[in-house]
Symmetry: D2
Subunit: 380 residues, 4 copies
């Protein structure tokens, strides 16, 4: 994780987090340990608890516990540990699902000098907004680096990787239908074409649909695409993007995968109802016999890059946690002047993460001369 490492080195010298108490409620993995140590290197006192008991790596928790307060054990109810960290009095919190934030609000005990929180999931933000926020919250997952790296390139690659690991099919010559052409859909469509597939995009937003068409992809309603696709990938953010009317038209051997966060995009009850028979044909492939056709569902409709693949490559995590670290630094500096509510990540943080990533790749870029800057400014 070279980007996070370069931040850690700067933090060690500058101590920008001195005096901060950071409570982090995340997946307790090696990457999170890296983040926690980076924050500690910056002068913060750090405490860690688990957002999800199943992702906790006990060895990591053990080693990290030698350096800081850690409350996490695999397979154990995370609530007591979360409560303990909330009560410890953090002045900045890091959440993946708004657990700490909810505790602070529900117990009415926002610590004195609290500067702000970060939240890295859409669900967490929905939950946060429901709390009647008394503190500023940085919406990390809306940051442009997250959209670009995590969604477009990370999920774009890992979704197809998950499908290949589950099925070992050849993508060249197949017709891949991508339902949903947001950032992730862009990434998946690009990678599917890059693998030799013919790509069809289904969308509800006409502007996105037109963009897909201008990229040379086929664009049509899902019910038409159902009849011609070989592989279907949902990434729409809505339930039942594929349902009974689509299953009824699919070709024998069609493969169904979901790349959206929740397992609602493929209508599983409808699929089950349509099938005369279902059986597991490979560890992550369940075959549904619908009429005289066999449809193959991957990973039970759960997000296929995690369920069938290894999730994001390490450099994606590096960029993501680098943004976390810079967000904490920014809250340390600016948090006091923010209004309660959800805030977007300042573009400068995104640019700084990108700059550090380029530096880690050994890639130099240009800078504007003073004359160019003043020319550009004269336009705004």
């Amino acid at each position: 994780m070279p980007v996070l490492r370069s931040i850690r080195e700067r933090f060690s010298g500058e101590q920008p987090l001195a005096g901060l108490k950071v409570g982090a409620c995340l997946h307790v993995t090696a990457e999170t340990a890296n983040l926690a140590r980076t924050l500690a290197a910056g002068g913060a006192e750090v405490a860690v608890c688990a957002a999800n008991p199943l992702s906790t790596q006990d060895d990591v928790a053990g080693v990290l516990g030698g350096d800081m307060l850690v409350r996490a054990a695999h397979g154990t109810d995370p609530a007591p540990g979360q409560a303990e960290i909330a009560a410890w009095g953090p002045t900045v919190t890091l959440d993946d699902g708004a657990d700490l934030l909810a505790l602070l609000h529900e117990t009415g005990s926002v610590p004195d000098g609290f500067l702000g929180a970060t939240e890295e999931t859409t669900t967490g933000l929905v939950r946060a907004r429901g709390l009647g926020l008394k503190v500023p919250v940085l919406a990390l997952n809306d940051a442009r680096t997250e959209r670009v790296f995590n969604d477009h390139y990370g999920t774009g690659q890992s979704t197809l990787d998950g499908i290949l690991r589950a099925t070992n099919i050849l993508l060249a010559g197949r017709t891949v239908v991508v339902l949903g052409y947001g950032t992730t859909g862009h990434g998946i469509a690009a990678r599917a074409r890059g693998a030799g597939a013919q790509v069809i995009v289904c969308e509800v937003d006409p502007l996105r649909a037109l963009e897909a068409r201008m990229e040379g992809f086929g664009v049509m309603p899902a019910v038409e695409a159902a009849a011609v696709g070989d592989v279907f990938i949902t990434v729409t953010g809505v339930p039942q993007a594929l349902g009974a009317e689509h299953f009824a038209r699919m070709k024998d051997g069609a493969t169904l995968a979901n790349a959206g966060h929740f397992d609602v995009e493929i209508d599983l009850p409808a699929l089950d109802a349509a099938a005369s028979e279902r059986r597991e044909v490979l560890p992550l492939v369940e075959q549904f016999v619908v009429g005289d056709r066999k449809l193959n569902l991957l990973a039970q409709g759960r997000v296929v890059n995690l369920a069938a693949g290894q999730g994001h490559p390490a450099e994606i995590m590096d960029i993501s946690f680098a943004l976390h670290a810079l967000a904490v630094e920014w809250l340390a500096r600016e948090g006091g002047s923010l209004t309660p509510g959800v805030h977007q990540v300042p573009a400068d943080l995104d640019r700084e993460v990108a700059r550090l990533k380029l530096a880690s790749l050994g890639v130099g870029i240009d800078t504007l001369t003073d004359q160019q800057t003043s020319y550009r400014n004269s336009w705004s």
Copy 2:
């Protein structure tokens, strides 16, 4: 222009512009005549004058003058015509350079019931802001359809087309350096790769630079790219993106083209100063002998898609003027409630243009079910 035609048909039935007086100060061409007639079909009284005397097509002006007030003649000072239209008392104005808007402000005579203005250029918006705006102005060129169609796809294609027309070089196997990776730069880079070139991107914004790298393009400072490029295309928006230090390193036979709006991006005085000799080798190609190398400048550094090509394809104009028509309709409905100043085009107008374009292509898309809509809304 099928999109504009479909709007015209609806306008004829609905008469949404009844009672409006629209003053349009644009390039008086066949496409503009189409727009003017569409507005008239919607019930507006329309008057037309010229934003630029050199682009006026006299035959178009003549025919259009049979139906509405037209003040435009090729090669004639446009000021009197503009003054006449301003004095005529428009309640909506369309500008390409803010001429009418300036007249209304400078003469202190904003007509009663004035609803709003549109402006389609960045320069016009700068000028508009300098007027101390008393009326709302819609910034058409910031609309997403404009960015996507005009800049990415339109200019992306036509820039390379202009270069091929000027030089007839083979792009396959050449190294094309794109300076500036904004929307237009994205389009040019994609088309250059699609033509078989190896593409290098030079940028000052680290996030854009990193995106270019993630697309598989080479990324490096311009001074390094100077030594390896065969074709250089500037689209940075700043002066001297290519200057003396770059010319000094370029290979023999390098080709220089500008795709930015102004002819300042290639430093022409520096090129002239560096050259021991210059001569026209083809109608749009000037050769500069710099040391023992020959550098080929296209179209005197003016925007190459217009200067060496035919500018935008008709479907780009169709989308652009469709947006104009919908903008006027929207001002008729909402203009009265807008504050003075520059406003962005509502996303709904962009989507409607896209929807009409898809319809004209015979492309259907999906719509959300009520259940999907409420699921999605539950997240915001």
Copy 3:
């Protein structure tokens, strides 16, 4: 023409053509003059006449005539000049249509010491075979460098370039149907995709059709493609690839272009018969009204890259004429031992042209070590 220049420099030193009399019956252009001088630099006595009176550039003929025997004048019957060169007693001939070869055979006067001929067109080879060949003929247009550069990259680019010059349409978002997936079809399909088009391939050979499918292109019978395409490009080598049954199904506004050698691939009489009206709408675009639809024929069905564009880029000609020069050198060395009839270009000549081209681009490549060579040889 850097490749030809590098050959000329070597020829000047080595004089490999000393004693040869080369008669060249080609298009008398600047590029041909370059070739002629290269051969002369190699020690040959060279004489030039015109394969086609309309392509002769009189200024070139004039200047070249100062150095060698030239018989060519624009618009003049080429036969007397060809007869004179044939009678002059060449020991090697270069043909573009087999004119000199035919004269030597028909007059029964193959000169003593005749080493061989080159022919650069398919039609010329057909004619040559019909002569009952008494001499060896090198089939230049079957050489791999010709296929790769001329057909795939040269014609691939210039075909789309010709279409854009004739129509100024936007390729992004359009459906381009490529009829014929040989080398040129590969090139056109790749460039059309690279311009943002959705590409459909029509083929009669199942292996080629399957390759197109594996590349992610749509594959279907032409009669089905007719109903969905926006732009049709024929490059099949057979007549009536597009005929009445296709015209009957095409969409309003469809564009028809031919990239094959002869203007027979689009069935023009059938198109004319199907149309109720035809008129020129742009210099190279003729519109046929078929039922309620308008079909646009480009360049009267003649090969569109030449008829609407500028033909091949100079570097394509450079590679082509470099192969000519090496072919003459090879005939000088080996011609005496060849049997009469058509011979393929030895792979070594192709490789040498490629090597020189890479050198002119400043590109180095690897060479096998002795150990690697012997390992490889142990397998054959």
Copy 4:
């Protein structure tokens, strides 16, 4: 395996193999069982033994043994079974390594009425040629369908798949160096670009190198590529394509994978000698510390798509075994008239496999009209 199935159905009706005794010495897997049953359905008497004892699936051998003579057991010396099948008197043999063919020659007992053999590996052909062939042998692995599907599309995809499974790196933004630009190299380079990588090709053949350059890839000597690559993939067919001089220049974190048949392309002794330390960091990733840099070797330099992935997708096997079945049918018909020695697969068989594959995909193609056929024939 739809293509093989369609052949089986035809064979059942036509019985083209009636009277044939086919001895198959292959990997005894489910796919091979499918092939054996297809041959039996065509009327042949079939006997199966193992080319490699480790790939034998005992359950398959057991079930198949109910229908025909099978001599294969996992982990058991295959020689006695091979000898038994050879002695059984086959009139056609199928080999993967020339075992049966060698037995027939070495024992001097080519059965009466022997029609021919097939061999599917390059090594097997080398061995076959060394036998002083008394019978015709069809070289299946040189068939165009094998080259296109197996090498280009199959290995192209599975090589990158293997690398992702071993490392979970992000390909977008990385520089992938492909050493060797034959059919497989083409496939790998295309897939790497399609995954967002910047691709550099290293070659020894100038024509291939120039083609790579025309595709927009970087081309340079391996020793230069060594300094800029992130991922190196060898597919050259020669030993030591990457050796000491390359390791010495590689960047920290470089990844080394081999996609060639033998594990000689990366010079493992030289890598070991250069390293101060080596350790396994992931199951298939060994890290070598060279100076202050870490180089990651995948799968000990063995062919990465098999060693780290799942090998070829089933549809690749389908095409491969379909060709086997048609080859046996062709030998039944034509074998008697063939000369001893190695023969290429007739193009008709390749075309028939492609035709059946297209049919299984539901893809129709065109056929030439009589007029078009005679036009085309007039040219040859």
